[in-house]
């Protein structure tokens, strides 16, 4: 999330994302007004949902919204308004469900739509922007608001910075009354009734943000209806996954279809893995060293196939799992193991590698650089394993060796 232009240095602490309809269920639980709606997983559900909504609200308009984790769904054709009742909603749903939705955030391949949200239509008087997030520079929760809703907030911040309102929340005071009033007046909620409605909304949002350990909560647009109600028309929520230990319910909110299957598998094994486009597989301990290993491979003329941090206290089983993941990729033409053991013991790494290669065999060049805790024992285990391993004396030496070996293997 690009907050820099908002003069607020905050990326979400984590990227556990949920769908809009799930976000709105959370909103509703905390008392944040949201439109009436229901999720649909296949087309046959859409008609009855639309009929129910129309009967309940007396408004013949319903909105069919694709549920994918990427933003910019409207631009990609993933959000459509049905004015012709249940039949039109169903025919729109047929087009959207199963489509490959391409938005500015999905990449060119797009994301397959597997869930829909059917929502009541509302008469919009004006659109606003509202977000809560953790500002890492100020070390506080920040509220960002703007009267320019429904637009790209980055663009607003860039072109009309005076339209962006920022409030920082002191964790001791919580969201203070005067801050809510500042926001309300700045957003044009002047009357007593509206002030009351907006206060209730802000109080609920702050409670949701802290109660659910969010790292980002964004509503774009927040709308004022023609009848003067303030409603969250959208809901984007990211959680801080460090706090998952106090939120057992998060597991159910995850949607594996929205994630890279290899990265998901890695996470389940307690590994941090990101697929990249190159052909040299990397197994490293520590996030910084893992990034630096990718960098040095590129610097030496090769291309990394992945980022893989086995973490500090990895077990033999985790290392073995990590190594098997690399071995089973068809793209990988060479492997570089780069370990500087602090907590991580080099002998544990060696045992994990040996176990994995025994199972799957080793058909590509392998360069191993071991340093740090129990390095002698680790090297001895690898020497005695009989595996075709090139050992490296340093990170630079290892990178050069694996780039050369991979090139030779491909030639």
């Amino acid at each position: 999330m690009p907050w820099k232009a908002l003069d607020c240095d905050s990326v979400p602490a984590s990227l556990m994302k949920i769908h809009e309809y799930q976000g709105k269920q959370i909103f509703a639980r905390y008392g944040v007004p949201v439109p009436k709606g229901e999720a649909a997983f296949n087309v046959s559900e859409v008609g009855p949902i639309a009929e129910r909504l129309i009967a309940e609200t007396g408004n013949p308009v319903v909105v069919v919204k694709a549920q994918v984790h990427a933003g910019g769904r409207g631009k990609g054709g993933g959000v459509k308004v049905a004015k012709g009742g249940a039949a039109e909603a169903t025919s729109l749903a047929e087009k959207i469900l199963g489509m490959q939705l391409v938005t500015p955030q999905t990449g060119p391949g797009g994301q397959k739509v597997r869930r829909l949200y059917i929502e009541q239509g509302l008469d919009i008087a004006r659109e606003l922007y509202l977000a809560l997030l953790v500002d890492r520079d100020r070390r506080q929760i920040a509220v960002i608001a703007s009267t320019a809703g429904g637009m790209d907030i980055e663009e607003v911040a860039h072109e009309t910075p005076e339209k962006i309102i920022r409030i920082h929340i002191d964790p001791v005071l919580g969201l203070a009354g005067y801050q809510v009033r500042q926001l309300a007046f700045a957003l044009g909620f002047g009357g007593k009734e509206q002030l009351k409605k907006f206060s209730a909304l802000m109080t609920s949002l702050y409670a949701a943000f802290t109660g659910e350990d969010c790292s980002l909560l964004e509503i774009n647009p927040l709308i004022e209806t023609k009848s003067g109600d303030i409603v969250a028309l959208d809901a984007k929520i990211n959680f801080d996954d460090n706090a998952s230990f106090r939120h057992p319910g998060w597991e159910e909110l995850q949607d594996p279809d929205e994630e890279d299957p290899v990265e998901l598998e890695a996470r389940k094994a307690g590994l941090s893995y990101v697929s990249l486009e190159g052909d040299i597989g990397c197994l490293v301990n520590g996030a910084g060293l893992a990034m630096a290993t990718m960098d040095i491979i590129l610097h030496s003329g090769g291309r990394p196939a992945n980022f893989l941090d086995v973490g500090g206290g990895a077990t033999k089983e985790q290392v073995s799992k990590a190594f098997r993941m690399i071995l089973s990729s068809n793209e990988v033409k060479g492997i570089f193991v780069n370990i500087f053991g602090g907590i991580m013991r080099c002998d544990v790494v060696a045992e994990g590698i040996i176990a994995a290669t025994k199972e799957l065999g080793l058909k590509v060049p392998l360069v191993v650089r071991l340093e740090g805790t129990n390095v002698e024992l680790g090297r001895k285990l690898l020497d005695e394993s009989g595996l075709a391993i090139q050992s490296a004396s340093s990170m630079g030496d290892g990178a050069q060796k694996i780039v050369a070996a991979t090139r030779a293997a491909k030639a």
Binding site: P2, D295, L298, D309
Partner: protein, 293 residues
């Protein structure tokens, strides 16, 4: 001299009887660190490895053993509470090794430390070492060498890499500080740089950053205005794709911001010599020292 910790530092380990805490308490004791007490609630009166007395609370450990620094190995659900307890007990320095502390817990902790004399390092960090005198944390002690270079870093293993390169070149370190990779944490680069700048025993500095956030850019601005000593730098994640979180909670390029290129440009503009490769951090420091000599 050195910064933050030295041979007289008296350390209490919170979570000393846990698997992780005990392993590293042992390694710190072996290194020569004065580990004067451990804290595990409910196990007060016992001893760790028949030597180090265990207390129920940090306050007791401070009172009885004169501990002035706490090192925390308490698991994430209790880590913020452990930091608050150490600060309340009067520890001047609290080093939280624990990985995975919720960011909103840290927002509250940072606020609660305002106006207190306690300095926090971490969480999610390798700790602090003054070679030959005091090691508090999880870094391998044997790769270090006593000397005059300060190393400050957001990444644990990359710090070891830099230290390993320095020691191999025969260059020792004054104090190495891992500030951790979390978005909201204790000391930042500038806090540590100020101490190095004032420490007569530190003659040069390696600063190791990574993608995400703008701590390196702020450090660069500070260096440009204030730093009297040569600084070499490295930024990890030049090749990281945007939008993908690289292990550390803070390491992500978001919306084209927080990139390595941006950080490298800021550091170079401040006169920092940035290493082109992680394998050349030691050599780059040597060059930076030679250029300023």
């Amino acid at each position: 001299m050195s910064i933050l910790v030295n041979k007289d530092t008296r350390v209490v380990f919170q979570g000393i009887t846990g698997a992780f805490g005990s392993q590293h308490a042992r390694a710190c004791i072996e290194y020569g660190t004065k580990v004067v007490a451990g804290v595990t609630p409910g196990r007060g009166g016992q001893r760790f490895e028949d030597k180090v007395p265990i207390y129920d609370t940090v306050a007791q450990a401070v009172k009885a053993e004169g501990a002035d620094v706490s090192c925390i190995f308490v698991p994430p659900p209790g880590a913020a509470d452990a930091i608050a307890e150490a600060a309340d007990a009067g520890c001047r320095l609290v080093i939280c090794i624990t990985e995975g502390v919720p960011v909103l817990d840290m927002v509250k902790i940072r606020r609660s430390l305002e106006g207190k004399a306690t300095t926090l390092i971490g969480p999610n960090c390798p700790g602090v070492i003054t070679p030959g005198e005091c090691k508090i944390g999880i870094m391998p002690g044997h790769i270090h060498k006593k000397g005059h270079i300060g190393v400050v870093s957001r990444s644990g293993t990359l710090t070891y890499e830099a230290v390993g390169q320095l020691s191999a070149l025969g260059i020792g370190q004054s104090t190495c500080v891992g500030i951790g990779g979390d978005p909201v944490a204790g000391m930042d680069f500038i806090d540590v740089l100020k101490l190095y700048n004032a420490d007569p025993d530190t003659h040069g500095i390696i600063l190791i950053g990574e993608i995400g956030g703008s701590a390196e850019q702020r450090a660069a601005a500070w260096i440009k205005e204030n730093m009297k000593k040569p600084v070499a730098g490295f930024i990890a994640g030049r090749t990281a794709p945007p939008g993908k979180r690289m292990g550390h909670a803070g390491a992500i390029i978001a919306g084209g911001q927080g990139t390595a290129a941006e950080k490298i440009a800021a550091l170079e503009d401040a006169g920092v010599l940035v290493s082109p490769s992680p394998a050349e951090m030691g050599v780059t420091l040597q060059k930076a020292m030679a250029a300023k000599a």
